[in-house]
Subunit: 442 residues, 2 copies
């Protein structure tokens, strides 16, 4: 049973749905099908993300992609669509060493027009009184952990959090209204490569034939071949499973990241920390990044919970295809206690005693290991987008526009981002990649 | 049982042994151990290669790495070491379209001082009389295969073939003479990552500890931990298996390539083709590259055999870890007959009837999919080299010198290549990679 579409989008995470929406709105007569192996939209790694957004980047590319996307999200929310968007701000807390290393990057961001407030240590203590800013040199624990004293912080008031499932659902609903089709519970078993001029011989395509991608063999709610003029791959960390068999580099590597939540409950110290009035008009603690392992604290006042996670690079395996059986999507309390909790309580003693997270989960961080900036490339009838590297949700709108531009005008086109800025697609491909390196990684 | 070395080199292919040799000769007091899972030197993909070398590259990087390496091999052979090196030349046969597309690249190579002869079609026919240069437009077969008429060729007289096993053995013997140690039948089960300041606690390293690579757990002739100040990874397509578990991107993807041999036997036409006197003083057919799928013919007069293979990209799977069980190292006659043989006999009818290769094998081509130029990078006590992308053997000497430079002076050092040229190591790393793109891919 063979079905035909103009465009087949594989993956209904935030990226696939943004692609589907922008493709459909600009190509209204085209028949577009989105499939996903999971039973609903954005239930893979999109749902497992820390789901923050920021406009603090030094790379012009990151800045354009994130700023235009977030401006679109803000405009949608202001027009009445609830995307759970809250500009709580980002508070990057730093040691003397980090601050001085960061100074040129902070200045670059200020020059680019990014709103940034600087707090010295005394102002920071005033705004966040329970933060521990200095360690006793005789304190064995902080010495062993090589924890640095805090010298100050920078605050980005335009950053914040959003609800990626609501955002994905917004894109999906708009896409459906325009006549697009989404089928869940359907995985791509195989990408179909065929000769441009088939001879009807067994063993095709032969090496001497010109071949292209013409769709996929699906399994689930739809079974069998679905042919499409263009196939869009938006499968994140699953890129390798989908593309390795046809010899295309999916350009991502996956790593597990864990998130733990701590309920405020009846702990008045945590309640005080949560309802901090010194940073934003919401009266809620901003997203806090500590000076060790980029450990972050996300205050979700609606849930009365903090989300906590940290960076984890060397020795955290790359996973070719995540396997739920062996725990790639499972977090563990021991990891929390030995790694996260020790840093957390050292800088924020309010968390002392909260050794048992009330919820926890893991997701796969999909790296572009080359430069941590996303990519879009075209390959014989296929468009591959990905490489979010921890900031995919906040760039998803721009990525959808780039994919649409790739579809309509090819790899040398210029996409118009939300707000009217133009972005050259070949900057973000691999044939002549020219993205600006990101320095804002403390 | 823990053993300690200054340097542990994993992989005794051509790359690992060149590294071992250059490391030892420049660091004579250092204790260096090379291990390989196979029973002898260069028995993996080194032995499965087409084993050619060329100085025809447009990329300054490729040119410096290959030219200096081949000059070293030539000097060694001229000093009495048999490396099986034969400057038979490379004959790139091209269509009108290919020639005109290649013209700027050919000119660039000539400007770089690379010896290149140009043959128009009539001269080419004179030198290689049995070559079919034009197809009847009514010929169904050549039309279906989209075979182009031949317009001419370029000839690189300084290119040729060598014996990579002899070269590997040369490096190994010199390394052993200097006191180095090589152990075969020993695989690296696991790279050891440890905190720089271990606390002796279970679960180390924790994320808040600074960690580094301190050796590997071996299995085979040596069993257990082998600790080393520096671990060198030269495992080619096995990089992923070794490095994924510690979360380092090995920067390669592997693809199967097949080689088929055809005996001259008592076929006088093939004997005539083999003993062509019109290209080199050896009186043997040069390495011929046809205008379709980069199909190549290597004449090995000592064996009275031709080796034949071809390019194969889209639809040839990337393989994370090659598995002999499922045929990653097996060639098949059907592939020969349907793909290789059809192109071969169309341009060189002397091969007509030779449908059954007398030998065949497959190997893994280890791609750096970013730019097909090799890399050397340093990561926390480890040096990773690789990415040969089909031209690893001919660059192995330079790569060994780069790894030694990385070891002695770090990633910002300048390596001295054979012949005295200096090469900046950070060109070929990933932090600020600056290799010149290669255009000489027809």
């Amino acid at each position: 049973m063979t079905k035909e579409y103009d465009i087949l989008v594989i993956g209904a995470g935030i990226l696939g749905l943004s692609c589907a929406y922008h493709l459909k709105i600009n190509n209204r007569t085209k028949e577009i099908l989105v499939v996903d192996r999971l039973p609903d939209a954005a239930q893979g790694n999109t749902a497992r993300s820390a789901a923050m957004f920021r406009n603090m980047f030094t790379s012009q590319d990151n800045l354009m992609l994130a700023r235009s996307s977030v401006n679109f999200y803000l405009a949608m929310q202001n027009s009445g669509v609830d995307l759970g968007l809250r500009q709580t701000g980002y508070l990057w807390i730093m040691s003397e060493r980090q601050l001085s290393k960061s100074e040129p990057h902070i200045r670059k961001m200020e020059t680019a027009g990014i709103k940034i407030a600087r707090y010295d240590c005394s102002e920071l203590r005033h705004r966040l009184p329970s933060l521990k800013t200095a360690f006793d040199p005789l304190d064995e624990e902080s010495r062993l952990m090589n924890l640095e004293d805090i010298a100050g912080a920078i605050f980005g008031p335009e950053c914040g959090r959003l609800d990626p499932e609501k955002l994905a659902r917004f894109y999906m609903n708009e896409f459906l209204k325009l006549g697009g089709k989404v089928v869940f519970g359907t995985s791509a078993k195989r990408i179909i490569v065929e000769p441009k001029e088939p001879l009807g011989l067994e063993g095709e395509p032969f090496v001497w034939q010109d071949s292209r991608i013409v769709g996929a063999v699906l399994h689930g709610e739809i079974n069998g071949e679905v042919r499409a003029e263009t196939t869009v791959i938006a499968t994140g960390v699953w890129n390798n499973e989908i593309l390795d068999p046809i010899g295309i580099d999916g350009r991502v590597k996956g790593k597990k990241r864990q998130i733990f939540t701590i309920s405020v409950g009846d702990d008045s110290r945590l309640a005080g920390l949560m309802h901090n009035k010194n940073f934003n008009s919401l009266g809620v603690l901003p997203f806090v990044i500590l000076p060790k392992n980029l450990l972050y604290i996300k205050a979700v006042n609606e849930e009365k919970r903090f989300w906590v996670g940290c960076d984890d690079d060397l020795n955290q395996p790359f996973v070719n295809i995540p396997d739920p059986e062996i725990g790639h999507y499972r977090a563990d309390t021991r990891y929390f206690e030995e790694n996260v909790y020790r840093i957390l309580k050292a800088y924020l003693p309010d968390f002392e005693g909260h050794r048992n997270p009330d919820q926890m989960w893991a997701g796969m961080y999909s790296y572009n290991t080359l430069d941590s900036i996303p990519f879009v490339f075209i390959e014989n009838g296929m468009i591959v987008a990905g490489g979010g590297s921890g900031s995919g949700i906040m760039k998803a709108d721009a990525m959808g526009r780039l994919v649409d531009s790739a579809y309509r005008e090819g790899e040398n086109s210029e996409a118009e981002l939300y707000g009217g800025l133009h972005y050259k697609l070949n900057r973000i491909g691999f044939k002549s990649r020219a993205v600006e390196r990101e320095d804002w990684v403390i």
